[in-house]
Structure formats: C-alpha cells, structure tokens
C-alpha cells in the first residue's frame, strides 16, 4: 500500500514537474511547513513547543522561530526525522501519523493535504526557502463583521497576504477561538456555529503570528418599547445597543435595593438601619444623586478603593521590617483617593517614584516589584491593559508585540537604581544617570526605550526615562491608558468589564460596546482624569440602577447590561458584613478595635484569618485583579454553616441574639430590624410570619429561663439563616 502510494506520488510529482507552466510553487519552510506543525499543535506549550521540548524533540513555541525548527527537524537526531530516500519513513511523519507510538497521538492524516505537502517538501530535499521568497505580512478574514440569527452559523475564509502582493487561502491551516465559549464554537476548518445566546461574540483567527478577528452580532429581536430614563451618555449607548439586538431591559431597582447596592460598591459596607430609614423617608427625586455624592465624600470610599489599589500595587509586608513602608504606602493611596487626585498624577507618582519612603511613599512599589521586566509587565497590565508577559520569551501569540517591543518597553525601567536609606530594609529609589537600555534576549542587541507602538526614544543621560513613559501614558491620544481605567472601574460596578478580562485589551478581544468604552474614556480624559467624576457618571446612570431581576427576555443576558448582574461580596466586605450582622467588633492585631477588614493597611494583618483566606482575599502578589477570586468552594460552605467562631459569636452573651431576646418590643419589630441590618429592606408579611412562627415553635410551652434560652436560640437560628442566604451573600 505504502509502496503504491509512493509510486503514485512520485509519478504525480514527475508529471507535475513536466508541466512547467503549472509547476507548483516551490515550498518555503516558514510559509508552508511550519503552519502544519502549528495547526497540529505539535509546537504548542504542552508539547514540543515547551522550553524543554518533548522526548528530545523541541520546536519553537507556535513556530515563531522557523530557523531553529528547521535545524531541529532536518539536522538533529542523526537525520532520522526526515528521510529523503523514503519520505514516508521519516520519523516526523511516522510519529505524526502515529504509525509508530507517539505520546501526542495521531496528529496527521496520511490522506490529508498537509501530509502530502510534507512528503513533497521532503522529496524536494527539504528546502528552507530563500531570502527572496515572499514573506507573509498580514491575514484577513471574510466576512469581518456579520449580524447573524440565534443558532446561526458562518463559514469564515482566511487569506494570507504576502510581501510580493500574492495571497493564499489559509482557512484550513488557521486557528480559531471564540472569546465567549457559551455563545459560539468554532471548527478546525473555520466554521462558526452560534448557540442561542444573543449579544456579541468575536472569533480570533491566528495564522503564523498574525491575527484577525471576526465579530458577530446576534440579535434576540424582541420588541424594545420601554427604556429607562436617559440620565447620561451611558444610557444612550447602552439603550442603543439593546435596541439593536432587541433585548428589553429590566425595570429600575427600588430604593432599598439601590441603597444597598451603591453603598456596597462605593464604600464596601452595608448601609445601616438608620441610613436605610432616612433614605426611604426622603421624597426628593434627586435623592439617589445626593446619596452618591455623600458616599463619595465619606472616608469609607477612600478606604475601600485603597484596599483595591493596595492589592493591585502589591502592597505587601513580606518581612516584619516592611510594616512601616506598607503602612505609609497604603496611607498615601488612601489619601490620594480621598483627595480625588487626578488618575494620571496618581499613576505618575507610582511609576516614576523616586526618593525614600518618608519623602515619597510610592517607592514602596519598587520594593515589591524589583525586577525591570516585572516593573514593565505590571505597568503594562495594570495601567495599559496589555499583557506583555508572553513576549519575554517569544512573539506574543495573539498580539503584535514582539520581543523587541517587550525589551524596548522594559528599557524605560533600566536606570532605576536603589541604595540603602537610613532605615533597616528600606531603600532610596533614584534614576541613575546614563543611557537607558535593555538587552533583547533573542537578538542580544541593546535596545533603547520605546513606548508601545512608538519609535525608539533618544534620551539624554540625565533624563529619567520613566518621566517620558508617564508623559506618553497620560497623553490625550494614548489608546490604552484611559480605556484601561474606565474598563476596570466599569467592572467594579457591573461585575463585568466592557472588555473581559479587564486587563487584557487587544484587537482580538474586542469590547462588547466599543462606542461606550470610547465615550467613557473620552469623558474621563476630558475631565482631567477625575476618578470621582467617572464613578458618579457610572452610578448615576439608569443602566447601573436597573434591577437584577430578569424579565421575559433578558434572563440569559451576560454582556449587554440589560439588567444588574449580582456579585458575591468580596472576602473583606463579607467578613465586615457578617460582623455587622452579629454585632461583633473586629479586632485585628495592631489596629484599633472595630477597624474594618477592608480598611487594613496590608494583608499581613489578616493573613491568619481563615474566613478571609477561604473567601478569596488576594495576597497582593500580582497586578491582576483576578487574584481576588469570587469562586465558591466547599470550605466556604462548611465555614458559613458550621464554623466554631461564627457559632460562638451567634451565641455570645450581649451578642445580637441575646440583646434581641432581652428587647421588650414585639417580635415582629425585631424581625424587621434584622432584615434592615442584613438585607437593607423591609421584610414582607410572609417573611415576618415565617420567622415569628419559628420563635413561637421554639418557645412554645416553655417558661422563664427556659423560654428565654429557647427564644435566644430562635434568634440565633434566624441570624444564622440570614447570613447564609444568597440575598445576604450577594450584592444584587
């Protein structure tokens, strides 16, 4: 069989050679062979593409270094991998087709075009190609944008464009990936199958380091005749989108729900029963805006957002001597937020920090982020929404960033120097006079600073390159800076970024509402990077104030903001809320009694707190918001249901249950109080009846001390049940 194949093939090739006019294009290793290895995932990070290779055979990750791959395939392993005398006996093919045992299984079908191309390439003596061969410059996908029905499908066509102006259909060899797997799936051959979720989905197409994106809009097509009042441009742009896709939004949330939501989102705490009462009593139509302003002016806003930024800026106390610095840095963050320092100033003072901790506390960032590459990666991810990490060792797989870009950007930090300051384990950070350069590890060439997508900068030795960097970042036309922050804050309030993940903004990961993202960024820039203005704009919008309760059409919406998406209270906020409900004064070592968990200067104060650990408090060890996890776990459930400390606090003398039991008012009122504290709303009649029925059942037929104990236990049970409800655990 194999012999026959060979004969046929040889005959075919001979025939083809004979027909000079139709002679196939000579094969080029980089253009024709490497894509086959990539499509077969031979050079993926889990296989031969990993740094150590696989079973002695190493390929460059995703084929970014064809020269190296050529060496490994053609010259290594004593030439066993390719065998020109009998191409189909080449190890490359017998392994790839799993004719001999292959750990990766069968990756190549002997009947496929890819297999035939490999055979032809070996037959032709494994040409590498010449320098004059055309190089691929870009790929395009057709169609680029489509409106498609639910459960619709679309075949994509991918074309590679070469330096000589020629093009080639590479649909079969490109790789496809949808950004929302719940909305669409892609086949290996570029066929996109949609599911029954309305909204937008993007399919990233990759081919040899080039990327293109296909975007589909999938309308639901329901009539949208009732829209919430337009309070600002956010509502205009969200409503426009909802109309386009035909998805009617939920109603506006009621006052209780709004108050609980906005208080948790701005200050990280529950509203008090008194606040609730006051808010519900006020008749002013502007009362929501007034409440928002009051919350933004409270010290708790600064504490809560300092908690967020402290984690992202890695404010850690990794050694006991770091306590002073981590406190100073936290205090600086908190004060900056309280003073509403313009965001560009805030960022500049961190990124270009110089001096010692007393002069300028943000130098603490350089204490935790020591390495030039790490500094650059953090700045790129945190402030520019760009993940450069991949480009350290190879060309970024889905982005234009090369290793040259990576090291050029890192060079901004190449002159950062440190020397001992007066205090133990503290340093002074300064720009060391000299030429800023970094070494591209692949080319070994020294590169000078260049902004992302910018030209190399010529700096004088006395110029601190970090000032050039922050100047570029905060330019009005910087495409990354404002977009990243507004998207990060949008996610804070809506539990979903316009781009997800919020710090991975790239062409192949488009926003769900680009007009909205641009409008937010433009407004933020125009306001002089005013953080409170941004928050005020977001939370005053009707979009933010929609109910989480779905209507007949939008229950499955997860990206169009047709309703509010509930989020679990984060670890610190939940801990504070539980303590509030159980009337417990927190006590963290080294902090004033009653200090909220969200107001701790750094995470070492609560490191040993099991509750916070199990509910996903971040360690402040990365610049990624994703370090804070909201996921559920068995340990969390066990803790809420049965933890000894919660049980102790429930049963404590003078605790909430004890005090309520002694309270002479009718049980109905006390139940109402508990609902105010825990859920920030009035209980309905059935809920009051249900709870009082439990009290009656427990106390039935008991007297004196026995009745007291039974009643206290009944209140403990009700408190326990309240803190285990989803309504308590979520902001909704």
């Amino acid at each position: 069989m194999r012999t026959l194949q060979l004969i046929l093939l040889t005959t075919l090739l001979t025939v083809m050679h004979g027909l000079a006019a139709d002679a196939p294009r000579p094969l080029n290793f980089a253009n024709d062979i490497v894509p086959i290895l990539t499509k077969g995932s031979c050079n993926s990070g889990g296989c031969h593409g990993k740094a150590s290779g696989q079973n002695g055979f190493k390929l460059s990750l995703l084929g970014f270094e064809p020269q190296e791959d050529y060496e490994h395939i053609v010259k290594e392993a004593r030439g066993r991998r390719v065998f020109p005398a009998a191409p189909e006996q080449s190890l490359l093919l017998t392994k790839g087709t799993a004719q001999v045992p292959h750990g990766g299984g069968k990756k190549l079908d002997p009947k496929s075009e890819e297999y035939q191309d490999l055979i032809r390439w070996i037959n032709e003596g494994m040409p590498y190609g010449s320098d004059s061969d055309p190089k691929m410059v870009s790929i395009s996908v057709e169609p680029p944008v489509m409106t498609l029905p639910l459960k619709g499908s679309q075949q994509l066509k991918v074309t590679a464009h070469y330096s000589d102006g020629s093009t080639r259909d590479v649909t079969r060899r490109a790789l496809y990936e949808a950004n929302e797997k719940a909305m669409a799936e892609t086949s290996e051959t570029g066929h996109v199958q949609l599911f029954d979720l309305p909204g937008d989905v993007a399919v990233m197409v990759r081919y040899q380091g080039k990327v293109a994106t296909f975007r589909a809009t999938i309308p639901l097509g329901a009539p949208v005749d009732k829209l919430p009042p337009v309070r600002n441009y956010i509502d205009d742009l969200v409503n426009a989108k909802l109309k386009t896709i035909g998805m009617p939004p939920s109603d506006l949330a009621d006052d209780s729900t709004f108050l609980r939501r906005v208080t948790l989102d701005i200050t990280g705490r529950l509203p008090t029963a008194a606040e609730l009462k006051d808010f519900l009593a006020v008749q002013d139509p502007q009362k929501r805006s007034a409440k928002i302003d009051a919350l933004l002016d409270s010290p708790e806003y600064a504490e809560f957002f300092a908690n967020k930024w402290s984690a992202l800026l890695r404010n850690q106390r990794t050694q006991p001597t770091y306590a002073r610095g981590s406190y100073l840095f936290w205090q600086w963050i908190r004060d900056s937020i309280a003073d509403n320092k313009p965001y560009d100033h805030f960022v500049r003072e961190v990124v270009a920090a110089s001096g010692d901790l007393d002069q300028h506390p943000p130098v603490a960032w350089y204490r935790q982020v020591k390495d030039m590459k790490q500094q650059m990666e953090d700045v790129a991810q945190l402030f520019l929404g760009t993940r450069m990490q991949c480009a350290q060792c190879h060309h970024h797989p889905f982005e234009k960033w090369s290793q040259q870009d990576y090291y050029s950007f890192a060079a901004f930090f190449s002159t950062v120097s440190r020397k001992a300051s007066g205090q133990k384990d503290e340093e002074l950070i300064f720009h060391k006079r000299g030429t800023a350069t970094a070494t591209n590890i692949r080319t070994k060439a020294n590169v000078v600073p260049a902004s992302l997508g910018g030209e190399p900068l010529k700096l004088k030795p006395e110029q601190d390159p970090r000032l050039q960097l922050t100047e570029w970042m905060s330019r009005q036309d910087n495409p990354f800076f404002a977009h990243t922050l507004v998207n990060r804050y949008w996610k804070h309030f809506f539990n979903r970024g316009l781009v997800e993940p919020e710090d991975d903004m790239r062409e192949t990961n488009p926003p769900v509402n680009p007009e909205l993202l641009n409008a937010l960024a433009a407004d933020f820039t125009k306001s002089g990077y005013d953080m409170k203005h941004l928050i005020r704009t977001i939370v005053n919008s009707s979009t933010y104030q929609l109910s989480a309760v779905p209507n007949a059409f939008n229950a499955r919406d997860r990206q169009n903001f047709s309703r509010y998406y509930p989020k679990r209270l984060n670890a610190e906020v939940l801990y504070d809320a539980v303590n509030r409900l159980l009337d417990v004064e927190t006590n963290f070592a080294g902090q004033a009694p009653g200090t909220r968990a969200v107001a701790l200067p750094d995470n070492s104060y609560n490191q040993s707190n099991y509750f916070l650990t199990v509910f996903g408090r971040p360690d402040s060890s990365s610049a990624c918001e994703c370090e804070r996890t909201q996921e559920a776990s068995l340990a969390q459930s066990l803790h809420l249901l049965n933890a000894a400390d919660i049980q102790t606090q429930l049963a404590r003398g003078n605790g909430r249950a004890d005090v309520l039991t002694k309270d002479p008012r009718p049980d109905d009122d006390k139940i109402t109080d508990l609902y105010h504290i825990a859920l920030s709303r009035d209980p309905n009649a059935a809920e009051v009846k249900f709870a009082t029925a439990h009290i009656d059942k427990k106390t039935n037929g008991k007297k004196d001390q026995e009745a007291f104990t039974a009643k206290k236990e009944a209140f403990e049970d009700i408190l326990w049940a309240l803190l285990n409800t989803k309504e308590f655990l979520f902001n909704h």
């Binding site: 797989p397 990624c624 068995l634 066990l638 049970d717």
Partner: protein, 473 residues
Amino acid sequence: MTATHIPCCGPRTRRSFLEMGAISLLGINLSDVLRAETAAKNAGRKLKEKSVIFVWLPGGMSHLESYDMKPDAPVEYRGVFNPIRTKVPGTQICELFPQQAKLTDKFNIIRSISHEFSDHGGGHKRFMTGRIPALPTGFVNDAPSVQSIVSRKLQHADNPMPACVAGVDRNRSGIDVFSLGAAYLGPSATPFLVVGDPSAKDFKVENIGLTPDMETRLDDRRHLLEGIDNLQRDMDRSGLMDAMDTFSQRAMGMLTATQVRDAFDLSKEPTKLRERYGWSAYGQRGILARRLVEAGCRFVTMVWENPFPGKTIPKNCTYNWDSHAVNCDMFADSRWRMPIYDQAVSALIEDIYSRGLEKDVLVVVTGEFGRTPKINTQIGTQTGVAQPGRDHWPNAMSNIVFGGGMATGQIIGATNPRGEFPIERPLSPNDLWATIYQHLGINYNDSFDDFQGRPMPILPFGDPIAELMPVGA
C-alpha cells in the same frame, strides 16, 4: 499513552474556567452518590479510582541515617549507625529500621533524586510545585502545588469526599506552611486540612463534626434557611449561585452523612491495627491516610513532623527532620525518631498490601531534601554543648515509593561513596511527579492559565520513572 492531547488554545478568562467548574457541579443528587459509593464499598476493597498517599517529612530526612548508608565512608561522613541486611539480598538499610528490613521486598528505595534549592522554603516550593520557584526562599509558592492541581483535575461533584486532604499539626495549619498553596488555581483548590494530632484523645476534624448543640438544631436551621433564602436564582447566570447551593448541600452532607464523618473517624478502626501503626502522630496519620483513600480521597498528604505533639520533645532532639547541630544531637534525635517512623511506615506498607490496595494506591515518603553528608559539629542552642548535626543538602536524598501496581524490592539510582550526589540514574522531583500523575491518570502536559492568562503546563519537565511503572496490569 491514552490521554489525548488538547491543543493549546491560549489565554482563557478565569471566568470561563469558573463556569466550567460550576457547570460540572450542577444536577447532582448527593444521596444517590453516597448510595452508589456504599454499594461499591460493599462489593470489595478495590477503589473506584486511583489515589496517592504522600508522606511528607519536613526538614528533610538524612539519607545517611536511613536508606543510603555509607559504612565505608570516613567517620565524619558515615555517622554512628550501622547498616543491616534485609529481606532483599544486597539491600541494606539503617539498623534503626528493623521492621522495614523485613519488608524491603514490598517497597522501592530511590537514592538519586536531587535538586538545587537548599532553603526549606525553596526546597518545599521546588518539591511541592514541580517548578523552579521564582524566589529561592519563602514558603508561599508562586506556582500551584501538585495537590491543588490534583484537586482541580480530580475534584468531582459526585465524590462527597474532598479530593485532596492534608494532615498537619495544630500550630502548623496554614496552607503556606508546606507550600501547599494553589497560586493561580484559586483557594478552593487547596487541600482540605485535617488539623491536629489524630493520636490525641480529643482529636476532632474542624468544621466536619457537628457540635452537640448544632446536631439537634441543624434541621431547624436548614428549614428556616430554605424558607427565607428567596433570592431569585435566575438573577445570576455566572453559575456562582448554583455552585454555592451545590457546595452548601455537599457541606450539609459532610455534616450529616455518616459515611463522610466516618471516613475521618479513627475509632472505627480496630485498636489492634491502630496499635500496629503506633500511638504517634506519624502512625495515626498513616492509618487515617489509608482510611481516607478508601473513602474516596485521591491525594492524601500526611505531614510527619513532631511524633508526639503537645508532649515535651526529649533533650537533644528536635521538632522535625531538620537535624542541624544547633537544633539537636542528630544521633540522639535519630534514636528517638527513627523507631517511631519505622513502626508507622512498616505498618502502612503491611496494611496497604493486606487490604489489597497495592495496585490502586501509590505511596511516596519523602522530605524536601537530604542532609549534608559531612557531619557538622556545633554548639546546640538548647543543650549548650557541642553536638553532631547535618545541614541542608538538596544534592542527594532518599525516598521510598510503593504501591501503584509497581514492581518492588528495587533500589533505584545511587550516590557517590560519600553520599554527596547521584552517580547513577539521576532524577528530579519532577520525575516522581510524572510517575504520580500517570498513576492518577492526569495528563501532565495539560495546562492551566496563570494570572496573566498564559497557559502553564502542569509539569514543565520530567518523565515517569520507568522502574516504577505498573507491571502485569
């Protein structure tokens, strides 16, 4: 190899990962699961799935006082103990191990694993994660521990037991103490900690057993919660609320289902067998590990540090295996510690075989490194007198491995005549992990995304140790 390779699809959002987890949890009826498991148990001892018992000796056991004696080395290397002959001709181990000596045909000794991290923190991170740690010191691992990877891969909703459990001393109960953190896999992937000394009379697993008070009230409370937990579940499409409901049910199950509680209850074991393991934290954690894998745990880490927590450590001896001269007279410490260890480990070997678990359960006993071959005499901090000790030595160590259907009675690898470094069959901790992943059916070429969305392979390098592959399956 049957595991199919999934092509690298690049960065994924952590949200989509969460969804996958949440979806897999839906629609499970706990009682069905428990019924099925009881039925399976009644049918015989063969486990439904493969599992691992991982005994961890923090501080690092001295290879020269255990499995890699060098009687011909100069006196400042060989120490004071003598090797003895064992069941397997040619295999010699330390005279402090008479019980294991009768069983050397039932386990394997590896003498050639080494690495480069000589700090406890670095050594822990290097060993527990199968990666080169970013920092050579400190215990907080920047990459997920193997236990958290196993948990992510093998924690299924239809198993009421936690996939990964770790037994630790009370004062050593942080997840980071032994670099067991989950890093970018998230805290729900860390092992369930069994804190405290199971040989103590008042031993009780935290959050599992109900307080007597709760026992009677849980039903009431559950009823109450059902009555007031009215938030519309269709508000949330992320799967999180459903996942929380499912976990709550499982937690209730753990609190009330006797099968789960029983798995942690050593009083269900015959006293005789418990005695065979020895009334030490080592022995009782050993039998607890065996009990937990029988109940469905997949990877049980048992930390053997202080054999008798709460009791005074004898003069000249120290808390764990960190036998520096400043901590202890290492020979005195060995005379005290090794017999307890010998009893527990030999009981575990016997027990695994006598219950027919040797194909399904793979057992590894190791520390983070070996000890310096050359004895270092210094003044002890406690004793105030000059005494012998050994320092950290990642260049050579000994471990034992058995079960998993492998051939036993082997010695794998060898060190040079002074026990300084491997001269035969050099291996790394990763080769051990590749062997373990293979046993558990985990494709270690799979990836998990780190905080930046970069796919990081489960095991960046390492190959299964051929001598330890199952035979005659």
